[in-house]
Amino acid sequence: MRFSDNFKIALEALFAHPTRTLLSLLGVIIGVFAVTALISLGEMATYGIQHSLEQVAGRSVYIQPQFKPGVESVRFDADLVKVLRVLPVRPVPYVFSSATAEDRHGQLVSLDLVGTVGDLPALDASVALARGRFFGPREARQGLPVAVINAKAESALFGNGRGLGRELVLNTSGGSRLRVLVVGVVQPAGGFFGGFEGSRVTVPYKLLWGRIPWKKGRFDMIELKVEPGVDLKEVEKRAQRLLELRYGKDRISVQSVQAFQQALSGITLGLQALLGGIGALSLLVGGIGIMNIMLVSVTERTREIGLRKALGATSAQIRTQFMIEAVMLTVAGGLIGVVLAAAVLYAAVLAVPFFEAFILSPTTVALALGVSAAVGLFFGVWPASQAAGLDPIEALRYE
């Protein structure tokens, strides 16, 4: 028997009951759809998260004093910021504190109070002004009472679009009251992490140094914005060495976003395995569905099988015919599943800003189709053996 004839016979059988064929395929379609969509969604989410991370903190190295109980932490001062300029980076120092303020109804709102240098948008591309201006380097050095707030703080304190030019009274963690003028509003941070942003008030670092005694003369963190074309890892190493020389070993923590990214991709990998497992389960159910419909088909076609045997088909040829039928069935289901998944993924990219790119890797498609073929091979064995084992005379007598 020619191999191509096997395919023709299988196709005839599948198209003999198109509706039933399609229905019997549902399990496999859903299974392959799930596996494909979920694996790809995982890849797309990983891409989205990493891309967002890079937007927020992609090309930065963060240095902070290491905290150890009983040991006084090192002091990051203005001089360190100057020293760090020997590296191919733009150092941006921060003082972190917190404050409360009354909103327009007299309710207290918690705020992140951040002190930094002037003209931050020029140093950090992720900071973008919505309205007004950022305080300049001179205002920062002189510690003038000006503030830039983020959109979240604006809506909490004043209402959307009503913060600019207003006076804000902050109760600092130092216990003092601090009156500042709102000169600018920054846009919410983009990407995935924008959603986690708190209400934030940014003021000249000198202002905080003057108002909170224990912050005086020190920064809590320095972000090193790495110049384009410079290797992040290399900068990390050089910063580490420089700081060790200045402060000694193990007093400073130097971190980039890469470590975080690794942890994150570990999490998504686990997530993908879980989602893939759900898909595999539906494939199992789908496979049993295929086996069931094939058994029905063998019973229905008992006389046909008897006739084919009477005309000279060997048991092996009958077995092959039903195996091919099962595999064609599941691969067809797999193809439909992949196409459905592609459509849904594409829709997700269009509808959800977080998914920035449509990713359907050839590996995923090959895996999906390979798995569907395997399901057909595995679940076709029993029905095919039933068909092959039929006695021709009994089969022809079957009503």
């Binding site: 006739l307 045997k309 009477a310 000279g312 021709p392 005379i393």
Partner: protein, 232 residues
């Protein structure tokens, strides 16, 4: 003349029922038989006498419980499934009472079917099937589905399907049993012609009128050959 079929003491025993009260049916009870090349033989006997069983054994659709079967001088008694299928495909043509056509296949595709299992390419299959259908007078009906054919035409498609195999032995089990008298006559005329062309035919029937067309009648009763009647 050389024998096509030689049966020696062939028995076929069906066992059924539980192991305590086993029922044994001797469908064939020691049949010995020779059929020469080109003979037209009919098998007669009452219902349940073993006619179909004998035909199935001759067609390698069934295996005898004991005895020996030589087909054209070759012992085919102990052939395995694969080899028996090959012999069925290449040397035996079968015609059934209920036609057994594939309902979704055209007449032509039905006739091609045995050649599919012979591994012939489509073009050659088609050519041979067309010739076989012409031989049974259905050149005009090749593309018709079985449902679009009369009973007599269906049976002629089935005969064409047997002829396309160019079998050494053409076996028919009550081929006119499902047909009206007129269609039955057509089929018998076709058998006459095939016999005249030198084909070897074995036809099971319980109608004397049909058996009279053949040259030799084997009478079967209770699984035994009781009479071997040669007609003039």
């Amino acid at each position: 003349m050389k024998p096509i079929v030689e049966l020696e003491e062939v028995r076929k025993v069906y066992r059924s029922g539980s192991s305590r009260r086993e029922i044994e049916v001797r469908a064939l009870d020691g049949v010995s038989l020779r059929i020469e090349d080109g003979e037209f033989v009919s098998i007669m006997g009452p219902s349940g006498s073993g006619k179909s069983t004998l035909l199935h054994v001759l067609g390698l659709l069934d295996r005898p419980t004991s005895g020996r079967y030589l087909l054209a001088g070759e012992d085919v008694t102990g052939l395995d499934d694969e080899a028996a299928a090959r012999v069925r495909n290449r040397r035996i043509g079968f015609v059934f009472q209920a036609f057994f056509l594939m309902p979704r296949y055209s007449a032509l595709k039905n006739v091609e079917l045995p050649l599919v299992y012979r591994g012939l390419p489509e073009g050659e299959r088609r050519l041979r099937a067309e010739r076989a259908l012409e031989e049974v007078g259905l050149a005009e009906r090749m593309d018709h589905l079985p449902s679009e054919l009369s009973g007599g035409q269906k049976q002629r498609v089935a005969i064409a399907r047997a002829l396309v195999q160019e079998p050494a032995l053409l076996l028919a089990d009550e081929p006119t049993g499902n047909l009206d008298t007129e269609s039955g006559r057509e089929i018998l005329a076709l058998f006459d012609r095939l016999h005249a062309e030198g084909k070897t035919l074995v036809v099971v029937t319980h109608e004397r009128e049909i058996a009279d067309r053949s040259r030799r009648i084997l009478h079967v009763r209770d699984g035994r050959l009781v009479d071997d009647e040669v007609l003039g």
